[in-house]
Symmetry: C2
């Protein structure tokens, strides 16, 4: 089986690559090649059974996608995107990478299929940013997409294209709407959602963290480990079960910041909790107020997608996967 990962150097891309190196298969079929594509070259993992290739590429160049799929990968993971904050600041760059880049990929696949039959599985990472406030308490599988960011708009358009190209038989697409990934490993970043991770990650490493919102704020989370499982599951499911509706709300955990902190207390003790400093930030408070709080992800659950059921579990995943089983608090 021949795999292409676009956006391979990002956090999920690297974890997905690791997971595929470990499992050596998708849906019981042996992986023989993985091509890692991103704007910068990816490090090539060591494997005795999988042949790796790394390509530095700009997907907003109309020619790129055709080159990436020239060896006709069986499964394509499309993870590449300009993130929410940057797509809002740089309107043209966001549309060029997130909309045009996705469309060029779909068009390259369609054109490849005109020469000889070709219909790869395409896993498209969408986002809960396709939804925009006001929301019901729980967003169901049939709630409409009225994004309030350009990023969310570009993802919602990608979903529509994915569905239409799938319906026409040009590609076998599955779009998954990722919850906020928590605990994101690595350094604190400037994303407005960064505090959801940092208020756990820094204290677990014995460092101070800033909480800019009230403890009553509720949000929708998934661990990086489950997010990678979603991607692989999306490559394996029987798409006949999806019908014409190719985009799925992913399961996750709805929790308040207070519940996150209580879980931190249980897993790492009072010392860790004391490292969280309250520093309200009006801009972040207002942004977060417009974000989705809870979902009914029935369709995905029925298809076998699964996420964590407590924040204790999300924290333990982080301690196991990132901290070698030990907390520094």
């Amino acid at each position: 089986m021949n795999i292409l990962i676009i956006g391979a150097t990002g956090m999920l891309g690297r974890k997905l690559t690791q997971a595929l190196v470990s499992s050596r298969q998708i849906d019981g079929k042996e992986i023989t090649r993985i091509k890692l594509a991103d704007v910068v070259p990816a490090d090539l993992p060591v494997s005795d059974s999988i042949e790796f290739d790394s390509v530095a590429v700009d997907i907003s160049d109309p020619e790129s996608a055709g080159q990436l799929i020239a060896d006709r990968p069986d499964v394509i993971f499309h993870l590449a995107a300009i993130v929410s904050g940057e797509a809002e600041l740089d309107f043209e760059k966001g549309y060029s990478i997130n909309l045009d880049g996705t469309r060029y990929l779909l068009e390259a696949i369609r054109h490849a299929g005109q020469d000889e039959p070709y219909c790869p599985r395409l896993v498209f990472t969408s986002s809960i940013a396709v939804f925009g406030a006001p929301f019901p308490d729980k967003i169901g599988d049939e709630f409409f997409t009225t994004p309030r960011t350009s990023y969310g708009t570009q993802k919602a358009i990608g979903e529509l294209l994915l569905s239409d190209y799938s319906r026409r038989g040009f590609v076998d697409g599955v779009g998954i709407r990722m919850p906020t990934v928590c605990i994101r490993p690595g350094k604190p970043n400037k994303a407005a959602s960064g505090f959801f991770s940092s208020i756990l990650r820094e204290p677990l490493a014995g460092q101070e963290a800033v909480l800019p919102v009230d403890e009553s704020v509720r949000h929708w989370h998934v661990s990086p480990r489950s997010a990678v499982r979603f991607l692989i599951k999306a490559a394996e499911i029987d798409t006949d079960l999806l019908g014409a509706r190719r985009n799925l709300n992913m399961p996750g955990l709805s929790a308040t910041v207070g519940e996150q902190i209580e879980a931190l207390r249980r897993v790492a003790g009072e010392g860790a909790v004391k490292l969280i400093r309250r520093e309200p930030d009006q801009m972040i408070i207002e942004m977060v107020d417009g974000w989705a709080k809870d979902f009914d992800a029935s369709r995905a659950l029925e298809l076998g997608f699964a996420a964590e059921s407590s924040f204790d579990e999300i924290i333990r995943v982080h301690v196991e996967d990132e901290l070698g089983g030990k907390t520094g608090a």
Copy 2:
């Protein structure tokens, strides 16, 4: 007030032009110029107060939109589209006119606003084709868009772009999802939905018509006269009332084919009804089965959009507007 109509030679474009020539104003502001754009030149109406201009243009050419808006129209009606059947048969043409053409227009407006402030009202004709079966009995204002045609996909993408460009302050957009326009004047055409009009239009003119589906088939209708009123209303409403959600289900009349025929009997008598010949067509039966049957258009109704409340009324509008008040049956 300076107006641009793109898609001016179509049925709605011509009726909209006539209506504006009669009213001479939009929202109380005098119309001084109307530019009529389409792939073929439009006939110039006679008016002593409005200056007319006709432009033949291909909106899939990236340069066209900039030329169309060079004189900075205050209101733009974007009615141009490759229709459903053709967009399904010619994939590339549909995307090129319906998606790229709309995006070029939005981009031209955004670029014009970079030179000096410019934020015109843009009325975008969307369609109930943005929805795809299975449906609830009544489709509400928050039901999701999962189109089952490329045309519906292109319209749903146009809606998302319109909302994002409006949110960013580049344009002041209103998207209206038109019901099936009935009774369409003119000759029978090959559209699968054509029979909804022809089973009334032909008998009213004393001619035979073919009914390819069962009388129990239910669908969502509006007269051409109300459709034109929707367009003008969309140019006049206070868009602050829309918030970030710029696309509206339009009101209409949900009726079965049987109810259409009963109305024909009441308005034009048994002789007219006898001109309808049953000739079931399996392909049309299956297509129509996937179409929306009824809507709850609360948002639009609250904003003052209004449609017919009986098929008798829809038939009378046709008799008045197209047949000079007389039926030939």
